[in-house]
Symmetry: C2
Subunit: 226 residues, 2 copies
Amino acid sequence: MNLPIVKQILSANDLVARENRATFDELGVFVVNVMASPGAGKTSVILATAERLPRQVRLGVIEGDLASSLDADKVAACGIPVTQINTGGGCHLDAPMIRTATAQLPVRDLDLLLIENVGNLVCPADFALGANLALVIASAPEGHDKPYKYPGIFAQADAILLNKSDLLAVFDFDFDFFQRGIAMVNPDAPIFPVSCKTGAGLDAWLAWLLEKQKAFREDERQAARI
Amino acid sequence: MNLPIVKQILSANDLVARENRATFDELGVFVVNVMASPGAGKTSVILATAERLPRQVRLGVIEGDLASSLDADKVAACGIPVTQINTGGGCHLDAPMIRTATAQLPVRDLDLLLIENVGNLVCPADFALGANLALVIASAPEGHDKPYKYPGIFAQADAILLNKSDLLAVFDFDFDFFQRGIAMVNPDAPIFPVSCKTGAGLDAWLAWLLEKQKAFREDERQAARI
């Protein structure tokens, strides 16, 4: 007798993440999951990215926090469509939250959706949202040892921003040590030192992001042709 | 018929935390659970506290991290008894981990045990360890909005350190706004602005800590007399 063997069971979250991704793909929205410690500069990076986006790339934002709408208020003040998720104590965003939040955005009119996860270098790494890219933001004041202490989230990153890089010297930040820590778990991810305060490095990050978004759009066009 | 009704069921973690606390009380060890974001300066505060402790207060340290022994190495280099817990991806310490780690320390010879939790402003707040005090460390670069976004952990703090306070101006840190955010959830906790780099404010923190430890010792003596 042959017993049926189920090889890989997707978690409920993974199933919803997959559905989110299918929806985003269908609508041609490129989605980035932005993860970082509290205070690393997730909102600042989102606002600095928004400022530098070409006009034809229409941006939407989902903000995740345990409580408050401080970040969504900042984003809304810039005229960007935004939804705030309050997790009510939860330590990460999950795929069903994104599904609900997306329904409240003019998602058909968007090209790019930036999702600001809860400030946390651990738990968000374990919950897929349906994004195309995972961005991890580290920051100079946190110190150069973070990739060694929180390897899981750095291993998952498609790109890493090192924010507040104008203060590397103030914090005796050893960039080589930081880079080696990332290389141990994720040798292929590019690292962009940036400063949202001075604007340094943001052009390189923008160029990389737009290239990825362009490749996604071309894939979508080819898929539509088939 | 009267059905037995169990009012408050302690979680398994709470049960072990209570046992930890009983053990610490019996041995006369005063225990502090140190919680903060990644890179706020938990290890720096522990080392700065160690440096300023009176000789008769014998210190031990438990270090918690997902991976690596970087922090425990720094503490051990100062001649302080220390155990490193690696959670292997876990986002917080729990009471059973503390029980195991304590067994590896000369706990009978200690007066003060500082436990450095995993860098995380969310999950550690939900897991009692058996400590006498909860210390939350915020830091200037993280920004003044953290109490509004992570109210749960600030609500539980017996004291709050604001580290890297030499850089308040660099980060446009609005101390009044920060203080109001804490007052909303925890009006009684003292806030100590400190800088582990310059040493500013550390004496006030030390004086407060030693007063709490002294009160604990006197309680213990009275309990022994009864």
